[in-house]
């Protein structure tokens, strides 16, 4: 692997994906957002709305057990059926969305808050500081993310806070790389030189001149980060290492339906479909926005 943290092109023979991205149908030719942008966005609003307002819009209690209706397929009383304990699958999907969305949004924010300054400092000061930061990040990356998460959950136990923070830590490398690259590309611009000649110190230059330019590409990556945070949280809760057991989560529901896959597949399949659509939507919306901003940035340079 060519060192991806330096600003040099990865490798002369390595392809850039930008050509590919521009041809993708979701991007739209003249920058107009198509149905591949609005439809996923609508889905995300629907999911967020029901998750936030679940108790007030007639969603059942996700923990109430209906012993008469165990593992019933979808019907009028239970739109998506019930699981092996007679709990309403729809209610659990909606309440599970709360976990996924909280972790999905908060973890990238944690990663951004820590990774952005680290990357900017590395890019701005260069030299030994840069070398140290890049080296540390490389070391951090030597342990695969999921392994690190499992390690954290072993030591600190599984809870919403632990999962969010440790997942957030995993986002530090990617965010600091993006902000470092952006900082490097703006560092030698005229407006930085201008700020310095009128006597701005390093801190002022970093916060007032560079930050507004760096924040855009970082935010553009944000939604894609949300999608991957949801996937990883799903993996953790699938393994039973995220939020504790009776609490509904998508990964946990998919895992819970495993033993009943043959006679009542709906227990696993519905949360899987909802999770797939949500991840796909974040990817589609995020990718559209990212290619938009990335193009703007390329044009600006």
């Amino acid at each position: 692997m060519a060192d991806p943290t330096t600003n040099r092109p990865l490798h002369p023979a390595r392809p850039t994906l930008s050509r590919f991205r521009r041809m993708r149908p979701t991007t739209g030719k003249s920058g107009q957002f198509g149905i591949a942008f609005w439809l996923p966005l609508a889905w995300l609003f629907l999911i967020s709305f029901t998750a936030i307002f679940a108790p007030w819009i007639g969603i059942q209690d996700p923990d109430s057990l209906d012993f008469v209706n165990l593992q019933t397929p979808p019907n009028d009383a239970h739109l998506l059926g019930t699981d092996h304990l007679g709990r309403d699958v729809l209610a659990r999907v909606v309440y599970g969305a709360r976990v996924s969305l909280v972790v999905g949004f908060c973890a990238p924010v944690v990663g951004m808050l820590l990774g952005l300054p680290i990357g900017m400092i590395a890019g701005y000061f260069g030299g030994r500081i840069d070398g140290f930061i890049v080296g540390s990040i490389d070391t951090f990356l030597a342990v695969p993310g999921l392994v690190l998460l499992l390690l954290f959950s072993l030591i600190f136990g599984g809870s919403l806070l632990v999962v969010t923070v440790s997942l957030g830590l995993l986002f530090i490398p990617i965010f600091s790389r993006i902000s470092r690259a952006a900082t490097l590309s703006f560092k030698s611009s005229e407006f930085i030189l201008a700020a310095r000649t009128i006597g701005a110190n390093d801190f002022n230059i970093l916060v007032r001149e560079l930050l507004p330019n760096v924040v855009l590409p970082v935010l553009a990556f944000g939604l894609v980060a949300v999608a991957s945070a949801i996937v990883v949280e799903g993996a953790l809760s699938f393994l039973g290492l995220s939020v504790p057991a009776p609490h509904p989560s998508w990964g946990g529901m998919i895992a819970g339906g495993r033993e009943h896959l043959e006679e009542s597949p709906h227990i696993s399949v519905f949360p899987a479909i909802v999770m797939f659509l949500t991840v796909l939507s974040f990817n589609l919306v995020g990718d559209t926005l990212r290619s938009r901003f990335a193009d703007v940035r390329e044009a600006a340079i």
Binding site: A13, F20, M23, P25, L154, G257
Partner: protein
């Protein structure tokens, strides 16, 4: 040569840092092993005795130095639960993980190469867009979800591949391989997209070269030109990515191994975590990190061997 030395130095530093980090994490932070072993109703004296027995009452850095010394000599400690030496536990399970990884990459290649070529050949057309969309959707399916859906559709509904127990290679090639088909497919679902995109992007570049036009002008059939003239130069980056993915997969197949009950390194780690078997967790994490860094190192070197520009460029950087 200078390049090689620089890379080796970096490799050693990273490995050292990973061992230190893992050791500190497992040993300093809450959740003392001694309490775990002693059980819930153990008295404080019993816990202290176990602690002294394991040497946990000494300073952390002393223990780290000692552990590192043993570690270098191949003594990674013994499991608290099963008393099995950690090195043996890992090495006996590693072939399973390796086989899963290889089968998965073969599946990924089987999907990536034809679709990548097709997408590049018809770049921007409907076929290309369809493949891109399919890839995008495929990437949005988490591997554990793919695994569950594959079990549901292939094993239960179609009844093609009943979820089978893992059989060692000595039980016959097919008996051994069939247990890997579904887990490998679940992993390949995401991997193939990355490979396909890289191949497509390179292939588009290669197809614009003059010698391809010449070959076509000579009247050679499209198939022949693509497979014999274009595929090789276009697959260089893809092979690199393939190598990097192998590094990722060493740790990435944890969930798949545990879903399909494959006795690999990932399942060893998960079970050790459920059992709070710290010594095994520590060993596996270091092993996975080591494998990952080593694969990256080898890919890096291959890069330098294949492209002399890198050797000079990076030596000073």
């Amino acid at each position: 040569m200078r390049y090689l030395l620089k890379r080796v130095r970096r490799l050693v530093v990273v490995i050292f840092a990973v061992t230190l980090f893992t050791f500190l994490l497992v040993n300093v932070l809450p959740g003392d092993v001694a309490y775990d072993i002693a059980g819930q109703d153990a008295s404080e004296e019993e816990v202290q005795a176990i602690r002294a027995d394991l040497g946990l009452d000494r300073p952390v850095m002393v223990r780290y130095a000692e552990w590192l010394g043993d570690f270098v000599q191949g003594d990674w400690g013994r499991s608290f639960r099963t008393d099995e030496p950690v090195v043996d536990a890992i090495l006996s399970r590693f072939p399973v993980s390796l086989e899963l990884m290889l089968v998965a990459q073969v599946f990924a290649l089987i999907l990536a190469v034809p679709f990548g070529i097709l997408a590049a050949y018809r770049a921007g057309r409907t076929v290309d867009r369809t493949i891109a969309t399919a890839g995008f959707m495929s990437l949005s399916v988490p591997s554990f979800m793919a695994a569950i859906l594959l079990i549901l559709v292939v094993s239960l509904n179609l009844g093609w591949l009943p979820t089978s127990e893992y059989e060692p290679l000595s039980a016959g090639l097919w008996a051994n391989l069939r247990a890997f088909i579904l887990p490998a497919l679940a992993i390949a679902m995401a991997e193939w997209v990355v490979l396909m995109r890289v191949l497509r992007a390179d292939m588009i570049g290669v197809l614009q070269q003059d010698y391809i036009s010449l070959a076509r002008a000579k009247g050679l059939p499209v198939c022949h030109v693509i497979l014999r003239h274009a595929l090789k130069p276009a697959s260089f980056s893809m092979i690199t990515v393939l190598g990097l993915q192998i590094g990722n997969l060493v740790g990435g197949s944890i969930i798949i191994e545990s879903i399909f009950a494959l006795p690999g390194v990932g399942r060893l780690l998960i079970n050790a975590i459920y059992a709070r078997d710290f010594i095994v967790v520590q060993g596996v994490v270091v092993f996975i990190a080591f494998a990952y860094v080593l694969v990256n190192f080898i890919v890096d070197l291959l890069y330098a061997v294949l492209d002399p520009r890198i050797r000079t460029e990076r030596a000073d950087g």
